[in-house]
């Protein structure tokens, strides 16, 4: 199983900190998974111009292809201006409309205020649903006060990340089994 972590911001450190912890949890608990973390701050991804994702070059091609090859994706996003960062939205724009078919996606969200809790419900889930993702319904919402010097200090957040990792892997395996059982019925 290929699990890709996507840290969706070029600005700040909290999302990356949470993603590092999350991907470490995936590798430790499920050593058989193949994990890749893509931190968009480290890549020069061009804006989508509508072409097929295979036709981009360089970092853009690498990021798009790595995501498309994943079985499960763990998205990490901060909330900026009551929305997701443009860098993350651009990733959605680069991919085909049904890019997330047969993929499980879960989310880690960092924000300065608890009042932004519903941004994920109102903005991210509709996009993922449209792109045919199987969404892990509960996400981990982490506030400013849960961090201290690039560490997560709130134990409850750590427990919730561990549960998210478990749910992501279990659901990915489950959907794979469902799909295989369904496809076996077709006899072709």
């Amino acid at each position: 199983m290929k699990v890709v972590g996507l840290s969706g911001s070029k600005v700040g450190t909290k999302t990356r900190t949470a993603m590092d912890y999350t991907m470490k949890a995936v590798s430790e608990k499920y050593p058989e998974t193949e994990t890749t973390l893509i931190d968009l701050a480290e890549y020069d991804v061009q804006f989508s111009d509508g072409r097929n994702y295979l036709e981009y070059e360089g970092d853009t091609k690498y990021v798009a292809e790595t995501i498309m090859e994943a079985d499960a994706i763990i998205l990490g996003t901060p909330i900026f201006q009551a929305s997701i960062p443009a860098t993350l939205k651009n990733i959605f724009d680069l991919l085909p409309v049904d890019a997330f078919r047969d993929k499980v996606i879960s989310m880690i969200v960092t924000a300065g205020s608890a009042k932004h809790y519903l941004i994920v419900e109102n903005q991210v889930k509709p996009i993922l649903g449209y792109m045919k993702a199987q969404i892990v319904q509960t996400y981990v919402f982490i506030e400013e006060m849960d961090f201290y010097q690039k560490e997560i200090t709130n134990e409850d957040v750590l427990f919730r990340i561990d549960r998210l990792v478990e749910d992501t892997v279990v659901l990915t395996e489950t959907y794979k089994q469902i799909r295989e059982a369904k496809e076996a019925e077709y006899d072709f």
Binding site: L54, E55, M68, P96, D98, D187, F188
Partner: protein
């Protein structure tokens, strides 16, 4: 329909098209050489002609896993190797070509073939060729519309005065040679959505509609929108032919047809498009209401007649060679078309 060389009294035309893809056979994992692929395409056109098939077309695609980038050259070889089958592109990417050169090529093919050439002009579903040929993707719409218009003008007028954004002006220019009977049928390639079909209708050009899969009812909306747009622009829809093109595969049973074709479609789509064809969607392809013509010859006959009833189209064009389909299976399909499918379709659609 005379302008487009279509005689409805003989029934709906049946054609084959190839995108010229050059993919490995998923069964053997082997890929034949580009030389062999091109020769097989030429032979396929000959076999199609012998089976009584009306039309054969070759696509232009400039990405990896394709072999007919120079599709006009392949069409010229087919023109020489055949005697009566109509030959065309499907499609020529007019956006990134010079309409003058395209017209020169096709008028020449028309002369070689004795008046059998047509052009289907499209916009490119993949855009790698913009970089390859030095065009800006931001001009996607404008390039197509301007060049398609110029292509039609060259077809209609022997002496041209023209100026536009993407090519040098033409002043009292003659584009030679002229086709055998003065003009060529030029179709607009439409991807199946109503927006593009409506443009074809406003312009008053025949529509060549390609589809991968889905219910007939959805594509009927596109056909209806096209004819409505024709009417709104003052054209008589009964004078403009419609062609539909899509996946085709005949075998002894629908189960066998699915089994033979699925790996080719799925693996081929993965390589050329990045995503496979979901099995569930493909399984729906045998349903009588689906546009995919996959099944036993009798099932296919019924499906095509149902589609004809719904679309009222003048030409159906089958794609059966995608994804490294072995040549012997293509031959078997042509035999089934010639002996069983074609006679039935002609019989029931002749006016």
């Amino acid at each position: 329909m005379e302008k487009y060389r279509i005689d409805q009294s003989k029934g709906m035309e049946f054609g084959l098209y190839t995108l010229g893809d050059h993919l490995p056979d998923p069964g053997t994992r082997e890929r034949i050489s580009a030389k062999q692929r091109i020769h097989e395409i030429i032979e396929l056109a000959q076999l199609a002609e012998q089976a009584g098939i009306d039309f054969f077309s070759v696509g232009e695609s400039h990405q990896e896993y394709f072999a007919t980038q120079a599709h006009t050259v392949v069409l010229a070889a087919i023109a020489q190797a055949t005697e009566k089958i109509k030959i065309s592109s499907s499609s020529t990417i007019i956006s990134t070509s010079d309409p003058v050169r395209v017209y020169e090529d096709f008028a020449t093919i028309d002369l070689i073939s004795g008046g059998r050439a047509e052009i289907v002009a499209g916009r490119a579903s993949r855009v790698g060729l913009y970089d390859l040929l030095g065009y800006d993707l931001r001009d996607y719409e404008a390039l197509y519309e301007e060049k398609f218009d110029l292509l039609r003008k060259i077809n209609d007028e022997e002496i041209i005065n023209w100026s536009g954004q993407f090519r040098a002006d033409l002043n009292n220019a003659k584009v030679l040679p002229r086709p055998l009977n003065g003009s060529l049928p030029i179709w607009r390639a439409v991807g199946g959505t109503p927006a593009s079909a409506i443009k074809a209708g406003y312009a008053g050009v025949p529509m060549y509609m390609a589809h991968l899969g889905g219910p007939v009812s959805v594509f009927k909306r596109t056909v209806d929108a096209y004819r409505e747009a024709l009417q709104q622009s003052g054209f008589d829809p009964s004078e403009f032919p419609v062609a539909t093109a899509g996946f085709f595969y005949a075998a002894d049973s629908s189960q066998q047809a699915l089994r033979d074709m699925y790996p080719h479609i799925n693996e081929g789509m993965k390589r050329t498009n990045g995503q496979g064809f979901p099995k569930q969607h493909f399984a729906q392809g045998v349903d009588p209401r689906s546009v995919m013509n996959i099944g036993s010859p009798q099932e296919i006959i019924e499906k095509i007649l149902y589609q004809h009833e719904q679309f009222g189209h003048q030409r159906y064009i089958a794609q059966m060679d995608f994804g490294g389909m072995p040549f012997d299976k293509l031959k078997k399909n042509i035999e089934l078309i010639g002996t069983e499918i074609l006679p039935a379709i002609k019989k029931y659609t002749a006016k």
